[in-house]
Amino acid sequence: MTDFYVLIEFLLLGLLASGISALMALSFVLVYKGTHVVNFAAGEVMMLGAYLYYTAAVVLKLPPAAALLLALAGIALASAAIEALVLRPLAGQPTIAILMATIGMASLLHGGVEIIWGQDPLETPALLPRFPVNWGEVMIPGAAIGNFVLASLLIAALVVFFRFSRAGIAMRATASDPVTAATLGIDIRASQRMTWVLAGVTGTVAGALIVSSGSVSPALASSALGVFAVVILGGLDSVAGAILASLVVGVLESLTVGYIGGKMRDVFPYLVVLAMLIVRPYGLLGTREIERL
């Protein structure tokens, strides 16, 4: 019976880890859907957010919740600045220009963070209280459950925002057709800026949850590249797809690592990406692009 419990444990851990990867994927998908930019700097923005959380909590000695809020405010400013200074001047440029601009941004942020905070891991205080949960022979760390609940709440809030609020509907309109949205009186620049801010905030919450009760180091950014598996599987422009795919990838990855070996973790996301691009490039729930001359 222990085999069965081990399986359940892997499944649950994968499922719970998917909450955070859904947040990371959302930070990606929001930007792609809203501005058609594949943001290679998403991981670095997340890392910057995590470092801001560390600074607010450890250096300024704020309580964790206040520290998170301060980090979110900081990252909102930084995201708006990135949008205004880098992506706005490049609007309408070819794909490679925009792709390389975000890669350049990633390099800039990575170097900047290492200059300010150094390369060594820094210990961060826990955002959520610790409580291990035992359920029969299955043991789950409480932080995983807490992270999952917090991530789900934030995702739910985002979905409600996009469905019902005026700003959210304006952002959806801008995403689906910027020109028409502009003629209808929607301030598409504000919408696009808002998109970047929301993406930065989502990424920062994910980053803070990952580093809380552990340590923050520049390696955090590279782990975010694995999120490509989630966004390609779900569809680059689908919020629902990102959530669904993060569940699938979370469970699959946990099972692969558990049964095949930890080394597979490095290559697994990319195998998913390649397989998906061959079989169904627009993802499970993404929009199939139809090209016209």
């Binding site: 594949v38 880098v86 001047p89 490049l90 440029q93 070819p94 794909t95 490679i96 220009a97 792709l99 390389m100 601009a101 890669i103 350049g104 941004m105 990633a106 390099s107 800039l108 942020l109 990575h110 170097g111 900047g112 963070v113 290492e114 200059i115 390369q119 590249l225 490509f228 390609i232 680059l236 080394k263 490095d266 290559v267 996301p269 990319y270 195998l271 990406v273 390649l274 691009l277 061959i278 490039p281 090209e291 001359l293």
Partner: protein, 346 residues
């Protein structure tokens, strides 16, 4: 006095060098570089070898990405393929002038393997597919120990050219120089042939190109394979140059480095590859020299070197994209025009 370069027929436009002056200066430049081992210091020769290797890989990427518009983020992985291939060919006793093209061909074959399925998608999706391919290949470099030596890497015996052992920077300079020159001429000539025009048509609007009779699949795969071939040669030369190499060298950052080089240099032009490769090699190098010069007064600077390099690298890419999107080649064209039209302003 010349007031510019004017063409009276299309034949003139298709020339490799648009004027006699350009041809003469080109010959002087090539001659100066060819005699470098005689008049240059050890440091200069070693740097020239590294620039040459980067240049070959950059020219390859400039065909794939600059001319044909397929954004490839796996150039470093194909270099790795070339390097490991050369190490095996050399161990089997193949001479280097046979091992290098074979390594290039093997890299091109693997490029086709990666490229064919990836060509179902394009644009950003293609870039992500090549990114995934890069990480799968570098995973193999790390873990497939019987072939790649794993983290310990492989050694490459020194190249041997009809009895002359090409060991040391000064002797390795000539194979690298010859390859760069040959492959550069090849790239320039591809650019002015039917194949090169087909690449540009595919880049600018692939559906229109297909309607005009360009076989999309064939030319996309060809462009990708050519880029991988150049990378394979560059990787092979890298193996001979260092003599021993590990999987650590072929990182994702190196792939990004080559894309940055063609952006900074100028997309779709051989001149752009040259300027980009030289510039991007010398920027981190001059940073290193600067920090070692200042390290006496500011000791903390040495540990900041790597992140400083990243900041400068990122800032350069963004600055070029925003302020000089056609790269250094365009700057050069402007300088040339100023000379042509002097004393008049452009």
């Amino acid at each position: 006095m010349r007031t510019g370069v004017f063409f009276e027929n299309y034949h003139g436009e298709e020339q490799l060098w648009d004027s006699r002056t350009a041809k003469v200066w080109m010959a002087i430049f090539v001659g100066a570089v060819a005699t470098l081992p005689w008049w240059g210091s050890d440091y200069m020769v070693a740097m020239a070898c590294i620039v040459g290797i980067h240049l070959i890989a950059t020219m390859g990427l400039n065909i794939t990405t600059g001319s044909a518009g397929l954004i490839s983020l796996s150039q470093a992985a194909f270099m790795g393929v070339g390097c490991y291939a050369v190490s095996w060919f050399a161990r089997w006793g193949l001479p280097f002038w046979l091992a290098l093209p074979l390594a290039g061909t093997l890299a091109a074959a693997i490029g086709m393997l990666v490229g064919l399925p990836s060509l179902r998608v394009k644009g950003m999706y293609f870039a992500i597919a090549t990114l995934a391919a890069h990480f799968v290949l570098s995973f193999l470099f790390r873990e497939w120990t019987p072939v790649t030596g794993g983290p310990r890497g492989v050694t490459v015996p020194p190249a041997n050219f009809f009895g002359i052992e090409l060991a040391g920077d000064r002797r390795m300079f000539y194979p690298i120089f010859a390859c760069a020159l040959l492959l550069g001429l090849a790239a320039a000539n591809i650019g002015r042939s039917y194949v090169g025009r087909a690449f540009v048509a595919v880049r600018d609007r692939d559906i229109s190109a297909e309607i005009l009779g360009v076989n999309l699949l064939r030319y996309k795969v060809l462009a990708f394979m050519l880029g991988a071939f150049y990378a394979g040669i560059a990787g092979g030369l890298l193996g001979y140059f260092y003599g021993a190499i590990t999987s650590e060298y072929f990182t994702f950052s190196l792939s990004v480095f080559y894309v940055a080089a063609i952006i900074v240099g100028g997309l779709g032009r051989v001149l752009g590859s040259v300027l980009g490769a030289v510039f991007m090699t010398f920027v981190p190098e001059s940073l290193r020299l600067l920090s070692s010069a200042l390290s006496g007064s500011v000791p903390a600077l040495a540990s900041l070197l790597l992140p400083m390099g990243q900041v400068v690298f990122g800032a350069l890419i963004i600055a070029f994209l925003i302020f000089e999107p056609h790269g250094l080649a365009q700057v050069w064209a402007r300088v040339r025009r100023t000379f042509h039209l002097w004393p008049f302003r452009t």
